[in-house]
């Protein structure tokens, strides 16, 4: 396991995605929403990396920027050494077979006017793989792999339940044998009893096909079960990045601490919880210095003035906080 982790699949360097904001009579450019603001990390082969943050922190944008569904503003994304940001149309199409996405809302991610068989088959058609007959066999095989019956291929999405639709989304993502799957909150729209089914399925296929996952979530409990490494994001930046064990047992950033203690649990009963003040600020007008300082329970004098950099505190444990200088 350890050995395999050393092969870097994706290396992201100083990635930025800004959305310009305009106002006034002549649509003057008055600022940027810095959805992703200088993010650096990498994903190894077969690794599950969890990306955690609250709504508006830019985690979904980051997920969409990697296969260039959103054009990055600057930075590099290396896939096995080639820079995705510099690929032409043809190269990009080929790449998109290797990196797939699973969405949060299983209902919206399937074309309501297409049978699910056609939906699962579509990647094969797009990339011109196999003939008609072989494709049908492959669709049947994929459906069985995600726990559906092959004869259901002729049905339309509205004839399935939420959990089944998510399985269909997974089958479609698997069709091209990708190396990386970006799963954007894959279970948060599902019922509790269905969530476990889908998470188990995702773990099974990860092992079986040797996939890497970028698992995006707002909740640390799902991440705890799935991920090898965890990155915590706040207002467009990664504030802490570590191995799961390390992060959960020895969280360094005050925001991580708060997130960990905020999750309701059978045991804690809310005792010793760190309660953060206020809400996540607007990414259009983030606070000065460390973006987290107005809500931080361990705030220092320097925090409002200077932005902390992501530095390695222990082995493979990175944190961006003035407490550890």
């Amino acid at each position: 396991m350890k050995n395999e982790l050393n092969h870097k699949l994706i290396q992201i360097k100083n990635l930025k995605k800004y959305y310009p904001v305009t106002a006034g009579l002549f649509s003057r450019h008055i600022g940027d929403i810095k959805a992703v603001d200088g993010v650096t990390f990498d994903i190894s082969e077969r690794e599950i990396i969890g990306l955690v943050g609250e709504s508006g922190c830019g985690k979904s944008t980051l997920g969409k920027t990697i296969p260039r569904l959103e054009e990055p503003t600057s930075g590099e994304i290396l896939y096995r050494g080639t820079d995705i940001t510099k690929l032409d149309k043809k190269g990009l199409r080929e790449l998109r077979g290797e990196i797939q996405i699973i969405f949060q809302d299983p209902d919206a991610s399937l074309d309501p006017r297409m049978t699910v068989g056609d939906s699962i088959c579509e990647p094969l058609v797009i990339h011109n793989i196999d003939n008609e007959k072989k494709r049908m066999d492959r669709v049947a095989e994929l459906m069985e792999q995600v726990g559906l019956e092959a004869r259901q291929a002729d049905l339309y999405p509205h004839e399935f339940s939420g959990g089944q639709k998510q399985r269909i989304g997974i089958a479609r993502a698997l069709a091209l044998n990708p190396k990386l799957i970006i799963a954007d909150e894959p279970v948060s729209a599902l019922d509790v009893s269905i969530q476990a089914q889908i998470l188990n399925l995702m773990m099974d296929i990860q092992e079986k096909f040797g996939l890497a996952y970028l698992l995006i979530a707002h909740d640390l409990s799902v991440i705890r079960h799935m991920a090898h490494r965890v990155a915590i994001m706040y207002l467009g930046k990664i504030v802490e990045l570590a191995n799961k064990q390390e992060l959960f047992e020895n969280p360094l950033h005050p925001y991580t601490e708060a997130l960990l203690s905020a999750v309701p649990s059978f045991k804690s009963k809310g005792k010793g919880r760190i309660l953060l003040r206020g809400d996540v600020p607007s990414p259009l007008n983030p606070p000065s210095g460390c973006h987290f300082h107005p809500r931080c329970h361990r705030v220092l004098h320097i925090c409002s003035k200077e932005e902390p950099l992501l530095t390695e505190m222990a082995q493979d444990h990175f944190v961006a906080c003035h407490l550890y200088r």
Binding site: I99, A108, P112, R113, E122, I126, Y156
Partner: protein, 320 residues
Amino acid sequence: MIKRLQDIIKKISQHLRLNTRLINYYWQRTRRNKLAVAGLAFIIFLVALGIIGPLFTLDPTEVNFEERDMPPVYLPSEQFTYDIQTGQYTTKEIRGTWKHALGTDSKGRDMLAMLVSGARISLLVGLIATGIAIILGTIIGVLSAYLGGWADNALMRFTDVMMTFPFFLLLVLIVFIFGRSLAIIVLAIGLTGWTGAARLLRSESLSLRTREFIVATKALGASDNRVIFRHLIPNVISLIIVIATLSIPSVILAEAALSFIGLGDTTKTSWGIILESGQNTLETSPWVAVEPGIMIFLTVLAFNFLGDGLRDAFDPKSNI
């Protein structure tokens, strides 16, 4: 362009053939709305009437002054006649005959025959003008949404100008200047009536473009063509059908209104033309104005019923 169009039509029909089950599903949903079914039945009846009806009726153009102003069978009418010899007015009740079941006009033409051939013309006008308007509207709307940027801006500003234009005045101007032929009227209605469709289709396409299944398809590496023709267009087809169903009646109304103010094609017996001619004999033979009006009204009503039912059936949120 034409090749592209053929391509679109081929792809759409291919898609429709594949999706008979989907069509069946929507038909089942439409069927629950009784008014929509009644509307559809009336439209089918009208189409049948327009196609084969003229085979069974008299010649609608045959003028016969002997039998002018004959009342329909359901309405006996009194006729004043001035006797030149005695210099007296006499009142005579005349009854309709089954030969002219719906009466005759002031030139003795058979009303039933005129209404039946009017159905053909009014439906054709409705279909062709709507067709032109919908095709224009779809191209402009979808293109505008997909291109974005300055092209979108230019197209939408042009749409705004056309929308602000006093529609009926424009129609009257065009028809007055270019001649009162049916072809000009159909073209004029088609070329001015696309703005609503363009707006609706643009906003629908814009919202579809950001839907996750479109993003998912792009993530699979699909080309723009594939996204537009396999996902975008099939998903706006239901909206196109609804817009078309609801704009046919307004086209029929516009043509009738033009005829009514004397800008119709008098060589063709559309319902509007019959109605216009009946307006002068309102006091003596009101049926000439009443009957085509009822036909227009029922047709418009039928299309409105059907359009409304289809809109509900296609709306995933509605619980019918």
